[in-house]
Structure formats: C-alpha cells, structure tokens
C-alpha cells in the first residue's frame, strides 16, 4: 500500500520547479534515545503499534530540531521523559493502545510533515498518551472531552476513524500550571469517511513558558463535513499545524481560529487546505488579538489542484493589535492550478477603531473599558459557540480571555 505523504509546501507546475525554503536544523546536545524509546513502550501492548513507533524512532534519529526565525526557536533540548502523561477523558473513546487493524492502516497510509518533521516524529516515537476514536457506521457519538494538563511533557499520537454516516464531536482542552516550562507535541490523523461529520474544538490555555505544537491531519472523503474551532491563548511558542486534504467530492471544511497573545507569547499558526476533488468547499477565518511584546503569525494556505473543479475556497485573518510593540504577521497564500474555481483570501491588521471607541464612550464607558470590550468582542462568537458543549467550558475561556486582555 502506498503512503500518501502530504507535504506542506508543494511548489511545482508541470516540469517547472520553484526553489523551496529549507529550514535549518540543530542537533540537540542530549536528545532522546533508546532509553526513552523503550520507556515509551511500557504502556503499549499492541504489536503493530510497537512496530510503527520503532520505524518512527529510526526516522527521528535522522533529524535535528528546527531553527525557526519567527518563533525564535534555536533548536530544542528535550525535557526529562515521562512515559505516561495523565489526561482526563469524558465520553466513549479508546486509548491509542486499543487501536485495531483498521486504525493501523491509517497510521501507515497517511503521513505529513507537521510543524516540523522532528516534532511530529517525536510525538509518534515517544508517545506517552494518545487516543483511538472509531465510530460505527451511522452512529452519532456523544461529545468527547479530553483534558490535558501541561505538567510533564506530553507526546500524543492519536487516530480518529469516523466511519461513513457517523457523527462525532471532540473537545480537547489543554490547561497549564504555568509554573515550569510545559511542552506538548502531537500527531493526529483524522479520517472522515463518506458522509461522516466531525466537530473538533481545541482550547489551548497555555502558560507563558509553554511550548505547544499541535499537528493535525484531516482527510475528507466524499460528502464529509468538518468544523473546527481552534482557540490558542498564550504560550512561549504555540504552533497549531492543520492539514486538510479534500480527497472526496462535495466535502466541506471550515476552521475558525481564535488567538490571544500577551506578554512575550508567540503564536505561529498554519492552516492548509489542499483541494484534490471537485465541488469542495473550504474556509479559514482567523481572528485574534495581540498585546504587549507578543507576536502572532497567521499562515493560511489554500492550494487547489488541477481537477478540483468548482471548488470554493476562502481564507481571511484579522489581527487586532493593542500595544505598540506587538507584532502581527500574515502569510495568506493562494496557489491555484485549476481555473474553474472561486478562491480568495484576505488579511487585515489593525488597531481599535477610534469611532467605535468614541461610540462606547458616549455611553459612559471609560476608554480602557471600551477598549477591552471591543477587543473581547472578537472572542465572543467563539465563547458563544462553546456554550453548546457546556457552560462551564465557555465560562472558563471567557474568564481567561478577560483576564489577559
């Protein structure tokens, strides 16, 4: 069986190639090795899984950690390894150890780069937590909530296998104790089969010293539907990395990223939608706020391949800057190889409109209060949507946002 390797940046046209940027790498002084790998097998009894992980470990050894200019990452020294990362789960879902043949096939069939190959392989080779979600055909699964605690480093390897006509809702919440330097890297392969649908909500409440790299690959088959809300707050480096692969016609995906960076946070987001099939619809609509010395980088990539006729792709991002020293960067990228499509992107960066500020002040709100209200207003639609999954969750997010704005 051939592996589908979905590269993040794919620049060629017929016989013409373009020059592709190579990220420099730095070898860690004390990288993870056999000892940590053996530790990671402690809680795994599934032989196929063990084999897969060992291949990934071999590949891991060939890579160094990246030198990332925008997030100021100069290589990385892994923390002390813990073989089991505690997570609290509500709802019906297996641990990754419960993966079946069907799921292993998914692991073997689909591969992707992740924010950086090294981090993706790290999550897989050294996974200390992970889940296997498999729905029955036509099943509607009750919402699943996964709670992560960023105390010790988290390496997650998960597979979601949504059978045709099934529906699932997964809410992943990460909380940090904001004491030490938390670290998480993940690898998620999500296959949404024909006519299945997924609602995925990520809530990342990172501390100022945490590194959170969330690599998610989603394959959309015919008539499938995926809705994602990706909330990223804080973090020394927060790097969500989403790859949507539209392989089935009539599939639809929307992703709504919300981000809030304060202090010295850096949030570097990448959302890629690659369209292979006709009549597909994809949209990315990011909104966020930056403050103090923080930085937000929004990379929204829409890549339409030849043959994806009648695709409808749109991307937008809006960053509100509240402080002089905060930095907003946007790389909205649109690469199109099929002319019978509608594709557009937009990016805007701005500060609070003085007219809106004035209007609120005529209603007695002080300048500071009005600023906060307007800024918070950006997050409000997300918080509102979260009410569906539980008032406690939406209230928690509301509080964190209010506190940091």
């Amino acid at each position: 069986m051939d592996t589908i390797f979905e590269k993040t940046i794919d620049m060629k046209h017929n016989n013409i190639k373009a020059v592709e940027w190579q990220v420099p790498q730095i070898q860690a002084k004390k990288d993870y090795g056999d000892f940590e790998f053996q530790s990671s097998l402690e809680h795994i009894s599934n032989d196929y899984l063990k084999t897969f992980k060992s291949y990934r470990f071999e590949a891991y050894k060939n890579w160094g950690f990246p030198k990332w200019k925008r997030t100021k990452l100069n290589g990385y020294e892994p923390e002390k390894y813990i073989s089991f990362a505690p997570t609290a789960v509500k709802g019906k879902i297996f641990g990754i150890n419960g993966i079946d043949e069907d799921g292993i096939e998914i692991l073997a069939k689909y591969d992707f780069e992740g924010a950086h190959r090294k981090f993706l392989l790290m999550a897989e080779a050294f996974s200390n937590t992970g889940f296997y979600l498999k729905t029955e055909e036509g099943e509607t699964r009750e919402p699943i909530i996964i709670n992560y605690y960023l105390k010790a480093p988290i390496y997650e390897m998960s597979v979601y296998n949504l059978k045709p006509f099934s529906k699932a809702t997964v809410i992943r919440i990460l909380r940090s104790n904001d004491q030490g330097k938390g670290f998480r890297t993940t690898s998620n392969r999500i296959i949404v089969h024909k006519n299945a649908s997924l609602e995925l909500v990520n809530i990342n409440l990172n501390g100022n010293n945490d590194i959170n790299i969330d690599n998610i690959f989603i394959e959309l088959e015919e008539n499938s539907k995926v809705e994602v809300i990706d909330i990223n707050i804080g973090g020394k480096i927060t790097a969500p990395h989403f790859i949507f692969r539209f392989s089935g016609k009539n599939s639809v995906a929307t992703v709504n990223p919300y981000y809030l960076a304060t202090n010295d946070n850096i949030i570097d987001m990448l959302y890629l939608m690659r369209f292979y099939a006709p009549k597909t619809t994809g949209s990315i609509n990011g909104k966020g706020i930056i403050k103090d010395n923080s930085k937000a980088v929004f990379r929204g990539f829409l890549d339409i391949k030849r043959g994806a006729k009648d695709t409808n792709a749109a991307e937008s991002s809006y960053t509100l800057t509240l402080s002089e020293k905060s930095k907003a960067e946007a790389i909205p990228s649109l690469t199109v190889d099929e002319n019978e499509v509608t594709a557009s992107h937009a990016a805007s960066i701005g500060t609070i409109e003085s007219d809106k500020l004035y209007y609120l002040m005529t209603r007695g709100f002080s300048r500071e209060a009005a600023k906060k209200m307007i800024a918070y207003g950006i997050f409000e639609p997300a918080v509102d949507k979260l009410n569906r999954y539980g008032e406690d969750i939406s209230q928690e997010v509301r509080n964190v946002v209010f506190q940091r704005i």
Binding site: A330, S333, D337, N339, E340, A347, T351
Partner: protein, 471 residues
C-alpha cells in the same frame, strides 16, 4: 449560447515574431565568456572609468563569488554564468541625433517603431543597443531646466561626485548574488537627475535592445528627483529568440526626495529564453511619492519585485503591475514595500494572467516597522486564469510591527465570472464580446500606463478574445 469560431490557444499568445529578427552588425569588442577579474578589468578599461568605479566592480566580483544563489523563486540552476558574455560594444560612436545612427542599427529601431515614439513628442529618447547607448536626444527645454539625462557611462565621467553619492546605495552590492554580479559587469543604462522644483513636462523614455546570443543585459539606471520635482520615466525591453540562455540582471535605483514625485513605467518583453533577474528599488523621503507601473510579458523566468522604501514621514507609494505568464513561462513577480516612518501609505494593485501552461507567481512583502505610526496600506492581487493548464499563485508576506496601522490585503483568483457575462449580455453584447470586454477591463489600468506600442500589443491580445471564445 452560440459559440463563436473555434478557439486556438496559439492565437492568444503574444506574437513574438515582430521582435524575432536578427541584424548583421559588426562588433568592435567582445569579452571572453564567463566572469573573472580580467573580464571585469577589461570592461572598466573600455569605459575609461575612474578608480572608484573600477574598485566597486572588483569588490562586487568578490562578493559574487562568495554569495549563494537566492533561496526562493525560480529555479536558476540551468544558468551557467560562464557561458554568458557579459559585455559587447558595437562598432559605433555615440550619436546625438537620429540621422547620425548607423543604418543597420537604425533599421532595427525602425522595425521596433522607435521613430514613431520620437514623433510622439517624447522629451528625449535613449536607446541602448548591445550595452552601449547609441542614440541620445535631449530636447532643448530639458537642458534649460537643468535636467541631467544621459547614459550611465558618460554620467560616471562627467558627474562623478553626483553619481558616486548614489551608485548602488539603494541596492548595495551585497544585497544578493545577482546584485553583486551586476555591480561587477554593469554596462549601459540611464542617469537622470531632476533639480529642485522642476516638473518635467513630458515622459522620458529609454529603450533597450539585446541582439547577441548568450549576451547578458546589465544596465544600471539611477533616477534622482530632487525636492519638489516631478518626472515620469518609461523603460521598455525586448530581445529576439535564441537557443543559448540570456540573462538580464539590471538594476534601477530611484531616489525620491522630499515632496518629489516619480513614476517609473516598465514593459518587459524579453524573449522566451531569457532569465530576468532585475532589481528595482526606490527610496522615498518625506512626502515623496513613488509610482511603479510594471508590465511583465516576456522572458522564460523572471524574478522582479519593484521595491519602495518609505523612510520619510508621509511618503507614499503606488504600484500597478501586470504579469503575463504564457507557455513555459515561470513568472515570479511581486512588490515590496517597507514602511519605516509615520503616516506613510501604500497601495498595490497586482494582476496576472496565466495561459497555455504558464505559471504566474505573485510574491509580495509588506513590512510595517515600529516607527510607522498611522501607516495605511492596501494590497490587492487579482489573477485571471484563462485555461485549465496554467497555474496562478499568490503568496504575500505581511509583517506589522506597530499598533497604529491599518493594513489590508486581499487576493482573488478565478476565471471570468458568470454574473459579469450575464450583466453585459443583458445590455445586448454577445457572449464573446462580453468576455473580451471583461478581459480588456481587467488589463485596462495598465494599458494606460504603457508606451503606445505595448498598449497596442495588449489590446491585440484582447481583440483576439473578441474573435474567439474562451469557454
């Protein structure tokens, strides 16, 4: 809806044959293919240059040999510098009137319609033929105004201090590998200085021509618009088709001083085997305005990003660009804007048409620095894909490092929209007429900015649309 006669994609491609002829001209001097110290020194000797320029060339050569190739953009691994002959000087003295130009060379220009342009009352025409300015003509009014408009070599000799102050300051030789290459072997180009408060009433034009196989065109143009002055400069380029690779690594440096205004319009129509790695940069001071109008139609591979550095308060820049990517063409073009001072503003309107397997790639860079309070920028990219085998990409980079800025970017890629066709048809146009009109409308903002012969070329392309359907 009825279909008009069968559409043939060949018809839509820009007809290069008008430019596809060769002349028999004697060459007085040819450098050895490849680039080394001897070649560079020979060039400097030929031009009788002052020591500082010779030193600059040698330093550039050093840099070129140590720098690596650009890590993005078109694939230039096929480019073998050693095969490019850097410098050729045709056997002709400099002429000051049209009559003095040798007849073979005059023929070439006749075929290209230069006399027509002359008759259209342009203030002065500088025509470059194989690295040397052969023909110059500045009307008396220009001289009276104190405008300095001459070929770069003469400027180096006659106005050394002025030139030295500006030469390769906007584009340092260390900027990138091909800037260094340029610094070592540059030849030809225009020097234009407009004194304070002078508003040049007519557009100035220079015309370039490459005629020898394997030749590299390396002209260097400097435009200095002193405080409160205004000038429009139009540049056009072409080359006939040859088997051996041609390289164009020219440079344009523009200095817009306080309150001055410069418009620089280019049409690039190099033939299909040219590599066009041109560097264009403007530095804009307080309340200055820089307008780029850039049409890229030819070359096999291009990397052109007109750049404006807004370093004075209230500086403005406007870029209108159109890129045409036809069969086997890879056009990596775009615009760069650096907003480094308060109350600066930028407006970019970049459009592309891709057809017949061409690849149009827009690469933009907008950087708003920490000092750019009150900056406003709006970038719009539109791409029209005329068939199903071409590619159109847009990858802009937007960096905003201040909180008091209003920055927007949008891009759209598509084909002609059904609603537009329907609306025009409801006003009585046939489907093919409606399509032709829309395409012409798409390109119109640029046709206005171009020299007549290119505006004609563009309209011809659109007229073909009128006769065939796009489908």
């Amino acid at each position: 809806m009825s279909r008009d006669k069968e559409f043939n994609i060949e018809d839509l491609l820009i007809d290069q044959s008008k430019f596809d002829f060769k002349s028999q001209v004697k060459y007085a001097y040819k450098t050895i293919p490849g680039l080394n110290k001897q070649v560079v020194e020979a060039i400097s000797d030929q031009k009788q240059e002052p020591k500082w320029m010779r030193d600059l060339r040698l330093k550039s050569l050093e840099v070129f040999e140590t720098w690596r190739d650009p890590r993005f953009g078109v694939d230039i691994s096929d480019l073998d510098v050693s095969k490019i002959v850097a410098y050729i000087k045709p056997d002709a003295k400099k002429a000051t009137s049209w009559e003095e130009v040798p007849s073979e060379i005059k023929d070439t220009f006749d075929k290209l319609g230069i006399p027509e342009a002359e008759r259209k009352a342009l203030a002065g025409v500088g025509a470059q033929y194989d690295s040397e300015i052969v023909y110059q003509n500045i009307k008396k009014e220009m001289e009276k105004l104190g405008v300095i408009f001459l070929d770069m070599e003469s400027a180096v000799r006659e106005y050394p201090d002025l030139v030295k102050e500006y030469f390769m300051k906007a584009i340092p030789i260390t900027d990138h590998k091909y800037a260094a290459f340029h610094g070592a072997v540059w030849s030809g180009g225009t020097f234009l200085y407009v004194p304070k408060g002078v508003k040049v009433p007519l557009p100035l034009q220079a015309y370039f021509r490459m005629n020898n196989p394997g030749m590299g065109q390396m002209e260097h143009t400097i435009i200095i618009a002193d405080e409160g002055s205004e000038v429009v400069f139009i540049e056009g380029c072409s080359a006939p088709f040859y088997e051996i690779t041609n390289l164009h690594a020219g440079a344009v440096e523009i200095y817009v001083k306080k309150g001055a205004r410069v418009k620089y319009a280019t049409i690039q129509n190099w033939s299909k085997n040219t590599y066009n790695l041109n560097t264009k940069r403007a530095i804009v001071d307080e309340d200055g305005i820089m307008e780029w109008a850039s049409g890229s139609m030819g070359s096999e591979k291009s990397m052109i990003y007109p750049a404006s550095i807004l370093r004075g308060k209230g500086a403005k820049t406007e870029t209108k660009a159109i890129t045409y990517a036809g069969p086997k063409q890879h056009m990596d073009t775009g615009s760069k804007v650096f907003m480094l001072a308060p109350y600066t503003s930028a407006n970019v309107d970049a459009r592309s048409i891709s057809i017949g397997g061409g690849w149009a790639f827009y690469r933009g860079w907008l950087r708003v620095g920490g000092n750019a309070k009150g900056a406003k920028a709006s970038v719009s990219c539109q791409a029209l894909m005329l068939d199903n085998i071409s590619k159109s990409d847009t990858i802009p980079l937007i960096e905003v490092h201040t909180d008091d800025a209003d920055i927007g970017h949008e891009a759209r890629i598509g084909r002609i929209r059904e609603e537009q066709i329907y609306y025009l048809m409801s006003r009585g146009l046939k489907e093919s007429e409606a399509k032709a009109l829309i395409v012409r409308g798409f390109v119109e903002p640029f046709a206005k900015e171009l020299p007549l012969e290119y505006a004609i070329e563009l309209n011809r392309l659109i007229n073909l649309e009128i006769e065939s359907s796009i489908g």
